[in-house]
Subunit: 541 residues, 2 copies
């Protein structure tokens, strides 16, 4: 028997209408590519998104067409999020840090009709000009005064000119909530990038979920600055969740160095921010070097890759609470968040920290299974590990225009995350490693993450990575690759002494390689693939 409740779909346009109607004077502050801060309100943002919707329909776009973006976190990108998705098109955010060939592949695979880009990325677009000539429009996200003269891009449109003449009256259509609203490609550690096609329903549910107290805890009292880029899994959903709760939104633009972030946080009174560990390392180091603190920041969410315990302590010493979270492009992204329970409040600080350093416990809506190599459930004892499977209303059931997916094939109805984890009886998950990053020595698994955390706790080490090196006797053995702090000294003997008191003897790395910089992927994660090549070359040399 069906209930008699209203059939009101979950649509991204509802978020926009809510923000404009109930938080019309709520502020959006953007650090711009052109320089300086831009300020306006949710009311103005909604009005310009409606103008954009009219402009897109004038360009001849049809329901389901993709509009690509190469852009930083800024107000025009936000208008694209809502204006494009709101009228039934798909906002396809492209990671500009990918290789040119990958970007060209993605634009083509997605079948983008329009590509909008920040001036920063003009060189990329110019280089790809030949591959973009069939697009309906190329749009520079700037005003007439800043429009570049580009001979390679003869029909280039100016965003401000494009929307200037449009009416700000537009009735957002009553779409099917399962209609596609966004598209984001995973950088893909193996094979070509794969696209995740989000729906209005998945985006709205995820936005509600991340605002919950035990996830990012977002309210209208907050000032939120997403450092995680809007081209990276929708900036973890914050561009949807922040207008939903009516918080002030601060968008950091292109400058993500410590000095720029600290100045922005202080001038705008940011209370909550979110990003990957690499960015926080830069911010914390800059603050320590300049002996300054935070005046408004209360909470930071860290995800993308695991943060070392020392980072929790450094934030804590500055009066900021860290919330570890886990997710993937395929999971919208947030699936786990490390919020304590009432029974944990009385634990000693070190035990609380140990829990908070785990990847977190399932947010409501997401279901997890941990299975061994034979597909049997692994007990939730916090010790035994297995592969993590996930299912939920904001998990992809496949990839865009790619019917075959190994990650969806093994366990029908579930997505295989490629993470090897333990889960404790409270649901807290600890990522032991990525399946392919584990070091298998003498038939036993060694977690690269655990060894990296030990290294990071040494005062001489700035950044550390553990990679497997082929070994005739043991199969594989761990090698530590490290970046040292300025003027620090760290020898193989120091390494062995440091590890021997902190892990089993057979887990101590065999070798140490000191480098000036660790290789990162386009999404800011350590590139273990590049490192393995480096180590092999090093061994061969």
């Amino acid at each position: 028997m069906l209930a008699t409740m209203m059939n009101v779909p979950l649509l991204l346009s509802s978020i926009l209408r809510h923000a404009a109607g109930c938080h019309g004077d709520g502020e959006i502050v953007s650090a711009t590519v052109e320089g300086g801060l831009h300020r306006y309100t949710y009311g103005e943002m909604a009005s310009r998104s409606r103008k954009l919707a009219n402009a897109l329909s004038r360009l001849g776009l049809k329901s389901g067409d993709r509009v690509g973006t190469l852009a930083w976190n800024g107000y025009r990108h936000l208008e694209l999020y809502f204006g494009v998705a709101g009228c039934g098109l798909v906002c396809h955010t492209i990671n500009p840090r990918l290789f040119r060939e990958q970007i060209a592949y993605i634009v083509k695979h997605a079948g983008d009709s329009v590509l909008c880009f920040d001036l920063t990325f003009l060189p990329i677009v110019q280089e790809m000009a030949a591959q973009l000539k069939d697009l309906k429009a190329l749009v520079a996200l700037t005003d007439a005064a800043h429009m570049p003269r580009s001979e390679a891009l003869p029909g280039l449109l100016c965003y401000e000119t494009l929307i200037a003449g449009e009416s700000d009256t537009f009735d957002w259509p009553h779409l099917d909530e399962n209609a596609a609203s966004g598209l984001c490609y995973t950088s893909g550690t193996t094979g070509e990038p794969k696209g995740v096609l989000y729906s209005h329903r998945s985006s709205v549910l995820h936005a509600m979920s991340i605002a919950l107290p035990d996830v990012f805890d977002l309210s209208a009292e907050d000032v939120v600055c997403p450092i995680v880029p809007m081209f990276h899994v929708n900036a973890w959903g914050l561009p949807f969740s922040v207008p939903m709760v009516g918080a002030k939104l601060v968008l950091p633009g292109p400058h993500l160095d410590g000095a720029s972030l600290h100045a922005l946080f202080e001038s705008e009174g940011v209370t909550f921010t979110a990003g990957v560990p690499t960015v926080w390392l830069g911010l914390l180091d800059w603050m320590d070097a300049h002996a300054c603190g935070f005046s408004a920041l209360k909470r930071v969410a860290i995800g993308g890759s695991a943060a070392a315990p020392v980072m929790f302590r450094r934030f804590h010493d500055k009066g900021v609470q860290v919330r570890h979270a886990w997710g993937m492009t395929e999971t919208s992204p947030v699936g786990l968040a490390a919020a304590l329970k009432s029974k944990h409040l009385a634990l000693p600080p070190e035990e609380r920290l140990a829990l908070q350093c785990k990847q977190g416990r399932p947010v409501f809506g997401m279901e997890f299974r941990i299975v061994d190599q034979d597909g049997r459930e692994v007990p939730h004892d916090g010790k035994r590990f297995g592969a993590m499977l996930v299912r939920g209303p904001w998990v992809a059931q496949g990839y865009f225009n790619a019917p075959q997916s190994a990650a969806h094939a093994d366990y029908p109805g579930w997505f295989s995350t490629d993470d090897v984890v333990t889960m404790d009886p409270d649901g807290f998950v600890r990522i032991v490693d990525r399946t392919k990053d584990m070091v298998k020595s003498g038939g036993e698994w060694i977690s690269s993450i655990e060894l990296e955390n030990i290294a990071m706790a040494h005062p001489a080490i700035m950044e550390a990575a553990i990679v497997a090196r082929a070994d005739a006797r043991w199969g594989e053995r761990p090698v530590l690759v490290a970046v040292l702090k300025p003027n620090a000294r760290f020898t193989p003997e120091d390494m062995r002494a440091h590890y021997e008191s902190r892990t089993s003897k057979w887990c101590v790395p065999d070798d140490l390689v000191i480098v000036d910089e660790l290789p990162h992927t386009a999404t800011g994660k350590l590139s273990k693939k590049t490192l393995r090549r480096l180590i092999e070359a090093d061994g061969a040399a």
Copy 2:
């Protein structure tokens, strides 16, 4: 173009599975009808709900059948919420405070197949025995030791005996999320009670919404005690939302007097509670009389009817933050919550209080329109008032087995709330009055709520109500009906002096009637209907 996200429905069984899987040792504490506290965990609750599902299917119930409940807030009632809805049946909560004839009407209209009741309500069930003889089962919510011998109810089943022999293995079916899960009748100030048939989807979305920081702000660090009854709009959704976030749940059973509540809050460390003003008046008065405070309580949600500013102050003085909320049976119920925004934090305390005393601003998902008598939008200026319409995924689009509904007819797609309100530019709604409670004097509307709040601020007044009395010259004039505090004195002259400095002269009540007690409806609200009859009789006397 449809997205490629997983098709995972929003089901109440997902809440149960999440609570059991991630918060298996989370506590549920219930004050029982039989006496004493009962303690168990989410894991045990889920296990017993599965046994109940097996027992219900053994009774021959089919998908969509209704299971009625006459019960306090307790663990067996909670098992019915999840066990009944989870297997595709409908949990029909009945308000035992209604008149017998209304209860009999509701059981018949709902077509209940089974009726489950706490021992408190045995007399009601016995009286209705003749009308209940066609039901598949009558179940006393108790154990064998406490089973009554009732000749009027020969086939009476015992809940504990019913589930004792069942397996705790039960696969919750993969239902349509729009399937009916719950049924609740509005007490109906006019005409017969009307049933609202909730869906899994509406209940899950509402449960997520009320856990948000700007609504009830629920986390796994909380200990939550819903005082609002589980037979009253699903206790405002808390029995779904609390397991969803994994908070400890404290269910108060039958004793809602100040002494019982205070003892329960203190012994269980309750951090958040929710209920109607009448209950809080009892609690606060008892605490003042016994000069005691709260050791753990941080927040209280007040709804059902408007709380006077003095109640906010009394809680505030005890270190408790009050969150005003508004809702109706037809809206699941929560549609408005009075959470401040960042821009309000710097306001003087009195201005902040004035905002917090409003009914609140729209929670995301709920859309509101304020219209004048001609159906035109009233500006959101916080001054001009109109009728409030609402729409959203957890609003009823009609009533169960009642195709005609005046409240849905006037504005297609919208539900007319019967409240007369103002909305300010921030979305804060102030209820001026119920349409039928407004006093129309000389062509001008007088708000009964505003005059009641003024009366409540007088030190001699315990409880106050304003009702309209027919007046030959003015059409209607306001009359104050008041209950005085013990040994207090309050004359018509005191009343006039008190009002004259606080409202326009033409709004000062014409007359004062002192009573020992104000009449309340079965849901604890002031019964203006009874009061109007009283005033007419008084005038006629």
